[in-house]
Symmetry: C2
């Protein structure tokens, strides 16, 4: 058993570091885990250390799942089609001809290009599966079967292999075989219908919540399935649909509709069932105030110099405040307009009222808490130079959270070492 905080050399295989595909020991056979020495080959350590994932996924949903697995310590070997590789290698922004987009979701992974229709490619792929704990893919349903790698085949040949599939509509149901990308499921799943302002043009959620949602749920289920396998020996197949995930992320919108019969619509910048919980105008911009319970509302009223608001029978409880939301907003803004956002944030923070500005991306990543929590990590890419990417939000004690990460692999960039590990 590894001691936490200790790197690689000489420790037992489990829970320590990435494993050599050949000897099964820590990946030290010829490329050492040299994080401390600043080598380009870095193995993130974490609760998934010792887990090896073969990753056929591309673009965003699957790669985001395996990015999170890598951040938690898994070794992720990306198997890409020769020539083009993952489609995301061709999405901007680019630097020195390389995709920074691709780097942002594939840092810290390895790459080998294999033609899964050729005997040689299949042979290597199957040797990889033989050593792997899990296979992740986000092809359209049926693709793996056409390749001869459907779940039944995989499960009988590799009985310990966990198989996670993320697809637009899942592996069952009448829409299973339709293609879907992020924006399609954002539209189909309803979140676009409750985002924005009534009567104004449609808006996409600014981040690809369709794909990211799929990646997140796949990672949760994959870790649960790895635990189940560890405890019982049984490997399972995970079937996640991006569309299903959108429904699961609708939170209270479904229950609002199924309980009241009213179809929820966009509500601008406020919460549908908590008040005050919205953006307000100040003298020089906006402030978000989220007074999620009666106690916080009292604190807010006091901090605004309007303790009467908390005594007002129209505003005594959250249901009443929901009912009189516009009147309350007018009262609050009449005070807030007397000073700027920065001043109000100081006042409300001192009073313990949850509040904040609406940051742009530059401001968000410059927030002092982002630096303190190591949420902007550095990748030293041999082609692109230094890149700043989002860090890992899952801080797990007993594991380091380094300030740099290994770069995304070049297409087929790890072929030679992987083949050596496999004894080829």
């Amino acid at each position: 058993m590894d001691k936490p905080g200790e790197i690689g050399g000489g420790v037992a295989a489990r829970g320590g570091t990435a494993l050599c595909l050949g000897c099964g020991g820590p990946l030290l056979c010829d490329i050492q885990d040299q994080t401390a020495q600043g080598s380009l080959y870095m193995v993130q350590r974490g609760p998934l250390s010792g887990i090896t994932i073969v990753d056929l996924s591309r673009i965003l949903a699957g790669p985001y799942c395996t990015l999170l697995m890598a951040e938690l310590g898994a070794r992720v070997i990306k198997v890409e089609p020769p020539g083009q590789g993952d489609d995301a290698r061709h999405y901007g922004p680019f630097r020195n001809g390389k995709s920074a987009y691709f780097s942002s979701v594939n840092r810290g992974k390895e790459s080998i290009a294999l033609d899964l229709k050729s005997p040689e490619g299949r042979d290597i792929f199957e040797r990889l599966l033989d050593k792997a704990d899990a296979l992740v893919e986000n092809f359209r349903p049926g693709t793996m079967e056409k390749l001869g790698y459907g779940w039944d085949t995989l499960h009988s040949r590799y009985p310990r292999l966990v198989y996670a599939a993320a697809s637009g509509f899942g592996h069952t149901g009448p829409y299973s075989h339709y293609p879907a990308y992020d924006m399609v499921v954002q539209g189909l799943g309803g979140v676009m219908s409750i985002t924005g302002h009534p009567g104004m043009p449609l808006t996409r959620i600014g981040t690809s919540i369709g794909d990211l949602g799929g990646g997140l749920f796949t990672a949760i289920a994959l870790n649960a399935a790895l635990l189940h396998r560890e405890r019982t020996g049984e490997a399972t197949k995970i079937d996640v649909s991006l569309f299903d995930c959108q429904l699961a992320l609708l939170e209270n919108a479904i229950v609002r509709y199924t309980t009241t019969g009213e179809i929820p619509g966009p509500m601008g910048a406020r919460h549908p069932s908590i008040t005050p919980f919205e953006a307000f105008a100040t003298a020089d911009g906006n402030i978000i105030i989220a007074a999620g319970n009666d106690g916080l509302f009292v604190k807010l009223a006091q901090a605004l110099g309007r303790p009467d608001l908390a005594e007002n029978p129209l505003f005594k409880t959250n249901p009443l405040r929901n009912q009189h939301q516009e009147a309350l907003k007018a009262e609050i803004e009449s005070v807030l307009r007397k000073a700027g956002t920065g001043d109000w944030i100081k006042v409300l923070e001192a009073a313990g009222v949850p509040c904040g500005p609406v940051n742009n991306i530059a401001q968000a990543i410059a927030h002092p808490q982002a630096a303190a929590r190591n949420m902007l990590v550095e990748v030293d890419d041999p082609t692109m130079g230094s890149l700043k990417l989002a860090g890992n939000p899952m801080k797990v004690s007993a594991f380091p959270d380094p300030t740099s990460r290994a770069p995304a692999p070049d297409l087929d960039g790890d072929r030679e070492r992987i083949l050596r590990e496999l004894g080829l």
Copy 2:
């Protein structure tokens, strides 16, 4: 070892069903798992069967995490303050005086009300921890320490207990002690700055992505930590910050900014770096088309009866299409305006081009794929009657995905049985 598909009775403890806190065997000692008989006490089976979670969390981020754990088979025992209980019990919509909102994120859990400042409450709580695999909470940092249950204390007294904390800003850093709710981190984390239309009013993401993001990342890390404990015996503390999670969900926005120096802004209903990937006007509404690569763009051009678009040197590659996005949109809409959304969806689906309507909530849950994938489950609540809630998007082979779920517990509703299990 359990056989998959078999319920409770007589099987070994691990990986099978919920465990009795007293005898450690399947929870059969006095309240049997009677799912098949339609009893109110239902234990969801899944890859986390046999895992017991003590859940101090409230409102949304923590409860969403433990909802997902319960959906995967964990037994979740909600420990609530006597009297009021979880704040979310008082959020609408209500039916027969009970919160449907609360039910939507707490179905299938158990509840016991304990005053953690009283000796009796602490005694019961500590007996629960003694039997639990994990503790989840989303208090403000420092609260657990004040109660005498900080990580160091917990870890030395319960060395196998995994501890997951989700808080607004995390347990470290200068903002650690500030309160934060969903909308505050939506604003601080930057996603609101890239959602909506340039020059139009701010909009919240219509679902509480601040809280849900925190719940999702906590669930991923918690499952990874449970696997690590299973493999090495070492329990760890997980420290997730809602703000960190927002940064981790910004996807390409961070890398666009750090690579190009340009601050990303809202872009309406289109993808920032893939074209065409947006909402288009038709004769009677909108359609989303997501042609994520050159092959799909060729199919789209052909399906529109405009194969020339794919030959046009302005539109040959994705970088070129990004550059000429407005011109391409005008070309595409000039065709799309000749028919309605429904007709175009048939044409484009037949051509294999990812596309879809913008559904409202009623349409989203009425989609045939939602029923086929069991994404709307029924809860038969003794007070509220039948509720329809979002199902589980994580389909794991070897486990059933029942069409109904146990209701959310009444406050303290499981006290008697839990105390009996504990021998009190």
